[in-house]
Symmetry: C2
Subunit: 336 residues, 2 copies
DNA sequence: CTGAAAGCGCTTACAG
DNA sequence: CTGAAAGCGCTTACAG
């Protein structure tokens, strides 16, 4: 049945093989197998059955590479990360995006092509090379601008970024959280506590869109509510916690940009000396650790599904670039 | 720069476009971009640079569909599940396999094609159709035998199953856990507690390989150590717990086949009336919930990486089908 | 040393 | 109503 030793490569069964076996042209076989016999090609019922039978018996599996190369769509979506590793690990901050992406892709009937962000062998083969195997792509993480990517976007290859991502001279599509509304709510809350000024703890050294967005909205909201940003404390996400706590002493209220930074302080025995209802975190809790201070709901998975929905619309031509979508967030206030 | 409204489809830049722009044959362009200029095709340095420059400027991205269709390998691995949903959710039992698969694929320089197990539009397009886009496939979950799959395996398409999976008349490759050794260890442990007989709690209604394996090895080990399997209690994984506990009363020792079943009993206030050091679970704890009874280490992620390693060897021709690999397990004994 | 041509497995417009 | 042929974008053996 099966022969051993140096197993032969893999023998593809093609349309031609079936055509030969049944004695018709392979165009006919193609038509029959694709159920297109109502169209321009018509085949007798007898032949139809023979072809179907032969295909089944020979174990024919269409080569979708060829199909896709010829025709248009492929029902395939690329997922690409600019990060070092692809976020399949549940502890990864981007993981919930991926879960949402897969869920929605499945619902919409798309398969997923996961591109690993590995170094390249040849100059010509860009990181994005495999992107053209798919109908469109979703990008996760903080990107570095690459000419090649810009060029694809310019030429209308459907690409959706998870998070607001701008590329100069380029019209990018993205889905992001509605940071503005939620940050205004959070400051309303702080204001209702009688707070007039706060310290802003900034963990990000490199500014990129989502973080500068938050800072902008925070300042805007503070201005509107007559509150004062008393100062900005730069703090590494890990380490220098003791020193960090020191620098918070005497503050009326504290606003953290990152949950990880807030958590590293929350964990310390010595409290920062601020009443907990006067501490805000401008992020959802994706860490799974307990958080008591005020923050917001995690809609990361939802952001993933929205990204796919938008991408599919772009692929279908139901939407035209550029499109930007916002996901609402809900406050989770401190509870004593 | 960019024009709005009814954005045109997506204009591919092909080798031909670059060839036209630089005034050489597109075979030359191909050679230059693939860095194969040392071979049969030689190009002047001047031309080389021009081609490279044009490619960059025009944003050329090779179409790997075409590349793969023509040539052989694609550096692409299919991951397929027979389950309803693809296990990207961390609470899914198969999720750790996927994590290991992605990790190793990344390491080996392969991208991943995730095939969703959705219903089909056409008869000819089998669930496995996209499989030929890749160099090989990894199968997760409990399969139903499908002719199409069998035929692919018969024709030496590289496929590795996660878990022992047999298909009649077919030589399948698989990686699995070394259930035999660990189950013998577990019974040694039970024996050292002075146990002479035990009850076997069986949750699986449908027998498939991994579970029948365990039962077989359990019986074998019991026989060897002069222990008696006093009875088999069939128990649904969820529900009927109360009744389940009743049926365990008076047993000298209990062996569970599934961690979920064991946990649903462990959670109940009323203990099963068996000393905890006389309870075994023939599974690792993939649930994340605390488990006190004796079980074994989770090597699921490792199984995923091993599956990829084996698949890559099959693709490279370093190994010939059929290959079976075993992953060792370690006992985690009850601790009071 | 170079470029034209065949061919990978399909689909579909087109000529008979 | 049917089948031969062109073409999707590449690579590579081959003829000039």
């Amino acid at each position: 049945m099966t022969d051993h030793g140096g197993s032969e490569p893999f023998k593809k069964i093609t349309l031609k093989d079936i055509a030969r076996a049944t004695g018709v042209s392979y165009a006919t076989v193609s038509a029959v197998l694709r159920r297109k016999t109502t169209g321009t090609i018509r085949v007798s019922d007898q032949t139809r059955k023979e072809i179907l039978k032969a295909a089944r018996k020979m174990g024919y599996v269409p080569n979708l590479l060829a199909r896709a190369l010829k025709g248009g769509k492929n029902s395939l979506i690329v997922v690409f990360t600019f990060e070092k590793v692809f976020p399949v690990d549940a502890r990864n901050e981007y993981y919930p995006f991926f879960v949402g992406i897969e869920e929605e892709a499945e619902k919409q009937g798309f398969d997923l092509l996961i591109l690993n962000n590995r170094p390249l062998d040849e100059e010509s083969t860009s990181k994005f090379s495999r992107i053209l195997m798919a109908d469109g792509a979703i990008m996760i993480g903080v990107h570095r601008v690459e000419e090649r990517l810009k060029s694809l976007i310019d030429r209308n290859f459907p690409i959706v970024f998870v998070g607001r991502r701008e590329i100069k001279g380029c019209e990018t599509n993205w889905v992001t959280f509605d940071y503005r509304t939620i940050i205004h709510s959070l400051l309303d809350y702080l204001s209702s506590e009688g707070v007039k000024s706060f310290l802003y703890v900034k963990s990000q050294t490199k500014a990129y869109e989502p973080y500068s967005d938050r800072e902008v909205f925070l300042k805007e909201a503070a201005g509107l509510k007559g509150m004062e940003m008393a100062g900005i404390v730069e703090m590494a996400e890990a380490g220098t916690v003791k020193k960090g706590i020191k620098s918070l002493e005497g503050a009326e209220a504290v606003v953290f940009d990152r949950i990880t930074t807030a958590l590293s302080i929350q964990e310390e025995k010595e409290a920062p000396g601020i009443p907990p209802e006067r501490i805000l975190i401008l992020e959802d809790n994706w860490t799974g650790q307990p958080v008591t201070w005020t923050h917001w709901t995690s809609e990361r998975q939802r952001l993933g599904t929205e990204a796919v929905k938008l991408l599919v619309q772009l692929i279908d031509g139901t939407e035209d670039s550029p499109v930007h979508r916002m996901i609402p967030l809900q406050m989770i206030p401190f509870k004593s």
